[in-house]
Amino acid sequence: MAEKFDPEEVKQACEGYVKKKGALAFGLANLETLERISPPGCGPSSMLPKVKSVLCVGVGGGTRGAWSADAKTLAYIGDTETMAYRIAYGLAFYLEAKFGYRSIFVPPDMDPEKGARVPMQSMKLHAEVAGIGARSMAGDILLHPEYGMMYYASVFTEMELPPDEPMPDNPCPHSSCVKLYRQSGQTPCMRFCPVECLSGSIGNDDKVAEMNYDAHACAEMSQQYEAIPGVLLDTLDAKDPIERGMALHGPENQVIWYKLAIGAGELLALCYECMRVCPITQTAPLSNPIARGAGMRQKIVEAEAAAKAEHTVEQAAEKGE
């Protein structure tokens, strides 16, 4: 049986832990609300039956530089979601190790049994209910008034901790977006979505009245994994060997295999034979992590200092000083 802890203190400790690891935002979602909003069989308890708390972590999105780069670069820089996952993964261990309550890092994956784009758990919903983001006109991407766009990860724990409230106000739509909408009938995100998958309306209260999102078109545009089965079917349907070859090896699709190969731990870059025979790789004193750990750096620094001192003495002797 786990020890008794002050829930507020635990919450603060968790916040301290995740922020030290690089998170920008932290909050706890109201479990009841989550269970009520989630589709049947999709709430937190479907994953961890004795869940008592849902802890949410938000990490920052792209740098300013990334936002000004071309879309290809931005898309391949990808996002910082893996950082959010790492922090949440650590948090689950932290909760178990430090407080003794069973915890789980919520897998950020699709549920293969539930259908198109149905996640195992909606981390978007967790974060929103935890008050660290609010749904936007842009396909419900969460936005935060201070941090902008973030990536989120969640941890379920059997430890009961006090939940937070959702943000009282939704920063979306921004006042300038409302102005543009009144003029043109479109917000910036609607206007510039390349596949026109966003539409909707803003009410007289300047809040989102309706948001329509074509998730299929969005995913086709931006998530290449959607294309893999299509690529394979195209290969089978190809009219001639050139088309078939292009379906598989075309530069755009090649990226898919590259990423798959990385995922599968395939041979990717080097056979290393050139590096195996390179004297620098073989003799560099700190190339060996064990040597680095064994205080070799210090020894080298000392040896270098000694050699330098000797050299200075020799020079002085040559000059007859």
Binding site: T33, R36, I37, P39, P40, G41, C42, S68, A69, D70, A71, K72, T73, L74, A75, D111, E113, K114, G115, A116, R117, V118, L125, E128, A134, R135, G139, D140, P166, M167, P168, D169, N170, F192, C193, P194, V195, E196, K207, V208, E210, M211, N212, Y213, D214, A215, H216, A217, E220, M221, S222, Q224, E226, A227, P229, G230, V231, L233, D234, E252
Partner: protein, 647 residues
């Protein structure tokens, strides 16, 4: 089908399953802040359902929902959407009209692909031309655009109707390109042109090639049968022509071709005469800068010329920009052509020679002077009126002007350089021509449709070279003479079969496997069918045609010099010597002549002439045929194949 799902089920339920799933999401209001759970429940269909929820809504098994959904998603899938990402960000904003997928933009007709498949260079040679800088990514319209931008006011064209600057030419070409695109023409589609050397020709040529089309030329003298063969073989989609030419109702004949040839869709006529069923070129002049989805690049074919067919049916010769542009670009320096030159082509643009010199002048940013149709007085007047500085002509053009005294009557002093090609150049005539223009230089050029300008004398060559030879290989090209027996290269100054290899040499005939099999050696040398001698300095002189060689009982001889002698007979107008089968010797020489006047000639009289010139007896013709008209190509070469068929 899996789990009992039928295609009918997919068709019936697919769209509603797709719509109910998370593929399509609608949110009303702000659920998390409002926490109105009833409203939320009521709107679940809109926010997107799991397969299990869809099961409940429409009465299929969850697994069946999965199958139906997946197949419907596939139907909605537009492959390659992510390419759009490449057109975004970094200052680029999404503009719907600015993006078209490559699959949509880079389309080709089936006939166009057939033509493209005929472009078949040897990989190691292509690599060499690229590495050596001969083949680069350049196009005719790229050159035009450069001049229009850098020297917009320079005169591009001087023609009987006036002068046209590079900027004006570009604008006309843009307008016609818009018009041609409006007809649905696409890259590598063939557009045939039967026009004289007029501004309409130039604008048509540049507009056809601007959108990536391929221009097929049809020589002006060609009539119904030739035209039908050429348009049919090339699968031309459009033809641009005169309404009529002399007594030939061109437009009417072209329209009748539309009935016979399925690929032919449009007949465009120049001038202001409206002809039912044709489009007027002027009406296709559409203002604006053309938007070209599939722009031409260096490796594209852009010309489809046909051999004149002295021995067989004309053969289609596709040529790429890299072939022709490299040949013209390197020749500019060799001819010392500059932007101040005014270049006049007496040769028709329907021939390679005419186009070659047009390209050279265009590359240099010079002025092209247009002579719509050659007559000796017109050429002489045009030279004088335009102060042409470079003239590309044939020996017959010069002979006609000299004989008519036109070179004395007109001012030729502006001409600094004259290039002769198209037929053998009698040394006497070359010297006379040069003497008539003090200080001028002359050159001989040798080329074929298949080779472009393969050899020529350079501007700086010694004075005797152009009189006796067609000069050295053009940069990037090689010429050699090989033994007809074993195909081995022969030493200098030995007559043999001429072969050419190089950046300007065509990639193979269109749809003519038989001809392609014979055309090239293993290592990519083109067998020209000409006999030649190359001197120690690489200067090449054509001595005859391989196919004209007569094999009389094992003794082979080239009848060209004998023909030259027979033509000197006062009763003979034209002469050609062809082989006729002989049971004993295999072949015997038959001389075919047309007469100058009423008076006939006998075989004995001709042989006496040959005897006087000490021609070996075994080379004398053994049969004489007098005919009324010699079958000639438009370049006035005797079609010996037709003569042999008759005999």
């Amino acid at each position: 089908m899996a789990y009992g799902v039928t295609q009918q089920m997919i068709d019936t339920f697919g769209e509603i399953v797709f719509k109910l799933s998370l593929n399509k999401q609608t949110r009303r209001g702000d659920a998390v802040r409002e926490l109105d759970f009833d409203a939320l429940d009521a709107a679940r269909d809109e926010t997107g359902l799991t397969d299990e929820e869809i099961t409940e809504r429409i009465g299929l098994l969850p697994e069946q929902v999965g199958v139906v959904r997946v197949f419907t998603e596939r139907k909605h899938h537009k492959i390659d959407q992510h390419r759009r990402i490449y057109h975004l960000g970094g200052g680029k904003r999404w503009k719907k009209e600015a993006y078209r997928s490559p699959a949509e933009r880079l389309r080709f007709n089936e006939e166009a692909m057939m033509l493209r498949e005929a472009i078949n260079f040897k990989p190691e040679l292509a690599a060499r031309y690229i590495e050596d800088g001969y083949w680069i990514n350049e196009t005719l319209n790229g050159w035009l655009a450069d001049h229009a931008q850098n020297t917009p006011d320079a005169i591009a064209i001087l023609h009987p109707g006036g002068e046209v600057t590079y900027a004006e030419l570009k604008s006309r070409v843009d307008h016609l390109t818009n018009g041609l695109l409006s007809l649905g023409l696409m890259k590598s589609d063939v557009v045939a042109v039967q026009l004289p050397n007029t501004l309409d020709f130039v604008v048509s040529y540049l507009a056809i090639t601007a959108f990536g089309g391929v221009m097929q030329t049809i020589h002006m003298p060609y009539r119904d049968a030739d035209i039908e063969f050429l348009l049919g073989h090339a699968q031309a989609r459009t033809v641009i022509c005169l309404p009529a030419f002399k007594d030939f109702p061109t437009a009417e004949v072209m329209l009748s071709m539309k009935e016979k040839l399925s690929a032919l869709e449009h007949v465009i006529t120049v001038g202001d005469m409206e002809i039912e069923g044709t489009l007027m070129l002027e009406s296709l002049m559409i203002e604006g800068t053309p938007e070209i989805d599939n722009p031409p690049v260096g490796s594209d074919p852009f010309l489809l010329l046909y051999t004149s067919g002295t021995t067989s049916n004309p053969k289609g010769v596709p040529l790429t920009y890299q072939n022709m542009m490299s040949n013209a670009r390197v020749s500019v320096a060799e001819f010392k052509m500059t932007s101040v030159d005014r270049n006049l082509s007496a040769a028709p643009f329907s021939h390679l020679y005419g186009l070659f010199n047009f390209h050279v002048a265009l590359n240099a940013g010079a002025t092209n002077v247009l002579l719509p149709a050659f007559t000796p007085p017109d050429l002489a007047k045009m030279v004088e009126a335009t102060k042409a500085t470079t003239v590309f002509l044939g020996p017959a053009h010069a002979t006609a002007m000299i004989n008519a005294g036109l070179m004395d009557a007109h001012d030729f002093s502006s001409v600094r350089f004259s290039v002769f090609s198209g037929a053998a150049c009698p040394p006497q005539m070359m010297e006379t021509y040069r003497d008539k223009i003090p200080g001028t230089r002359i050159s001989q050029l040798w080329g074929m449709t298949e080779t472009a300008g393969a050899t020529y004398c350079r501007y700086d060559d010694a004075a005797d070279i152009p009189v006796r030879s067609a000069g050295r290989a053009s940069p990037g090209d090689e010429v050699r003479v090989v033994s007809p027996e074993d195909g081995k290269p022969l030493p200098a100054n030995t007559e043999g079969d001429l072969q050419v290899r190089g950046c300007s040499v065509f990639p193979g005939y269109l749809n003519n496997e038989e001809a392609n099999a014979d055309a090239f050696t293993e290592d990519g040398w083109f067998r020209t069918g000409d006999l030649a001698i190359i001197d120690d300095d690489g200067n090449m002189t054509i001595t005859g045609r391989t196919k004209d060689v007569i094999n009389r009982g094992g003794v082979k001889f080239n009848p060209a010099d004998i023909e030259d002698l027979i033509i000197q007979h006062p009763k003979v107008e034209m002469a050609a010597i062809v082989p006729v089968p002989d049971p004993a010797l295999g072949e015997k020489a038959c001389c075919v002549v047309t007469l100058l006047g009423e008076e006939s000639v006998t075989l004995e009289e001709l042989c006496t002439l040959l005897d006087e010139h000490k021609i070996a007896k075994n080379k004398w013709p053994e049969r004489l045929e007098i005919i009324d008209e010699m079958p000639l190509t438009p370049t006035r070469k005797v079609i010996k194949g037709r003569l042999m068929d008759k005999l």
